[in-house]
């Protein structure tokens, strides 16, 4: 069953086109990722889905309703980028207050417990760590027992451990039957969490597939890296039909090609009595798919 349907979404701010053509559907119970470089139109897309912005064109339905339908504010939990709380409000007060907004809220004490905030209920928002603030923000998005959770850049600014903890958390949210729309620019995050990913660049969807599918789309290409035991002429390898390109990185050679690349290269080296030291065969990752599809390097750290 389709939970979110976005069809040819368009949105501009003045002369700047934020989103020019975005379409995708999110099915019940999936973790759907929106991936893309900064400024690609990810946040505008989710804010339109959350009913915070009116699109200039295209249609969006969430649970078969218009995003502006007040009923959706009960059914959709949203964790926005850079949404904070008053500095001196405690975590417990925030949870209690926000749970009063809903007719059938989750038990906020249990939620705090599950999110590892039980010991922080009397701590003021300003005194929470980045990870704790983020978890509180997620808790507030889940406090109304939503059917859909929209999480925007939820691990930005977190340390690697907190990021991994947050990933576990997102999986547990899905396990309780919540459909998750996740916005991220971390490849690793998308690869680890998402069932399907829409890759957005410059306001359009450039690819939509499972993370494995996206990687497979670029993995016809193979890369081999090694340090030859003696200097060698590039043409020795570029002459092979399997080899497309040879790059030098200091003493290291990077051979890019397809087909039975590894066999072709090692056979040629052996025939010339060259030993390939530190030989590595690189597998494509979502990073590579990203670079191939957007023509630029992914932003963000890689851990």
């Amino acid at each position: 069953m389709t939970v979110i349907n976005v069809d040819r979404l368009r949105k501009r701010y003045g002369d700047t086109v934020a989103v020019s053509d975005v379409s995708f559907t999110v099915e019940r119970g999936e973790i759907f990722g929106i991936l893309g470089p900064n400024g690609a139109g990810k946040t505008t897309t989710v804010e339109s889905i959350a009913g915070l912005r009116a699109p200039d064109g295209g249609t969006i339905t969430v649970l078969d309703r218009d995003p502006g339908d007040p009923e959706l504010r009960r059914l959709v939990g949203v964790q926005l980028q850079e949404s904070q709380l008053p500095e001196k409000m405690t975590a417990g007060e925030a949870l209690e207050l926000y749970s009063a907004f809903y007719s059938e809220p989750a038990d906020w004490r249990r939620l705090a417990d599950e999110l590892g905030l039980a010991g922080k209920l009397t701590t003021r928002f300003g005194k929470l760590s980045g990870g704790q603030k983020q978890r509180l923000s997620i808790a507030l998005a889940l406090i109304g027992n939503p059917a859909v959770a929209i999480l925007d850049e939820l691990t930005t600014g977190l340390d690697p451990q907190a990021r991994r903890d947050t990933w576990d958390l997102v999986e547990s949210i899905r396990d309780r039957g919540v459909t998750v729309l996740l916005v991220t620019h971390f490849m690793e995050e998308a690869e680890r969490l998402c069932d399907r990913v829409a890759l957005i660049d410059a306001g359009t969807v450039v690819a939509l597939d499972t993370p494995a599918g996206l990687i497979a789309g670029v993995s016809a290409e193979q890369r081999i890296r090694f340090r030859p035991s003696v200097p060698l002429d590039d043409t020795l390898l570029t002459g092979l039909t399997e080899v497309r390109e040879v790059r030098r990185h200091g003493t290291q050679l990077e051979v890019i090609g397809e087909g039975n690349l590894l066999h072709a290269v090692t056979a040629t080296l052996a025939a010339h009595q060259i030993i390939a030291n530190d030989l590595r065969v690189e597998q494509a990752s979502l990073d590579d798919a990203f670079v191939r599809l957007t023509g630029r390097a992914a932003t963000g750290e890689h851990s």
């Binding site: 504010r73 959709v76 926005l80 949404s83 008053p86 907004f101 507030l140």
Partner: protein
């Protein structure tokens, strides 16, 4: 209604955690009255003012001061900070409308003003025998009209200020001339004629006049009440049109 009460209670709690703000709102107006009342000359009836004492005038001025601090300085700062920190935006994704938080902040401010003013009136009455407002209904009307004008101006500042810092600056810049015309430095009653006429057209000058008259036992001048309602409408409507939620 239950949600609105909770929001208002939360705003109260947050105010109680701001010691500086608490001092200026609850203690400072009363302290001002006590300090001025300690000056013997201010406790003598002045024939030129129809036998009123300076301390009697300052009781009313301190009431206006309380409303000015809450409406023009504190409320815009809080509301712009809420916008700046994305708190209004977060609320927009819940079943509660962000305007409810705005309302809760105003109701909390008004209740706070009532408590602070009651404290001030009691101290002025007990220590300096300043009579309690003689025209109670008139006093309530004058007080609410002045509060309405002050909060409308505060909302307008919150609407146009890009951030908390700007709201604070604009609020402070507005505060001094507004309070000058309310007579904080020289009571309006001893202003030269021209200045008094100008003061009567400013929101807090009109407010001071209306409160003063009600305290002395008269129904506040309709002119003053009209000026107050006009400010409330003009700034309130402008704020409603211009207010940005994010």
């Amino acid at each position: 209604m239950r949600v609105f009460a909770k929001l208002t209670r939360t705003e109260f709690r947050l105010l109680l955690r701001e010691p500086m703000l608490l001092f200026w709102i609850f203690a400072f107006p009363s302290i001002l009255v006590v300090i001025l009342g300690s000056i013997p000359a201010f406790r003598e009836p002045i024939p030129d003012l129809g036998g009123v004492r300076v301390i009697d005038l300052y009781a009313a001025i301190a009431i206006i001061l309380t409303l000015a601090m809450l409406g023009v300085q504190s409320a815009p700062l809080v509301l712009t900070t809420y916008r700046e920190r994305g708190i209004l935006r977060r609320l927009a994704t819940t079943p509660v409308r962000p305007v409810a938080l705005l309302g809760a902040q105003l109701v909390m401010s008004l209740l706070t003003a009532i408590v602070s003013v009651a404290l001030l009136l009691i101290i002025a009455r007990l220590v300096f025998a300043v009579p309690l407002p003689r025209h109670l209904l008139g006093f309530a009307v004058a007080f609410l009209a002045t509060a309405g004008a002050a909060f409308a101006i505060g909302l307008f500042i919150a609407a146009v200020a890009p951030g908390g810092k700007a709201a604070n600056t604009i609020g402070t810049l507005a505060f001094f001339p507004l309070m000058f015309f309310a007579g904080l430095w020289t009571p309006r009653e001893v202003f030269p004629e021209v200045l008094r006429r100008i003061a009567d057209l400013t929101p807090l000058g009109a407010g001071e006049r209306a409160v003063q008259e009600a305290m002395a036992g008269q129904w506040p001048a309709w002119g003053s009440l009209t000026v107050l309602v006009a400010y409330m409408l003009v700034f309130g409507l402008a704020a409603a049109r211009l207010f940005r939620w994010e």
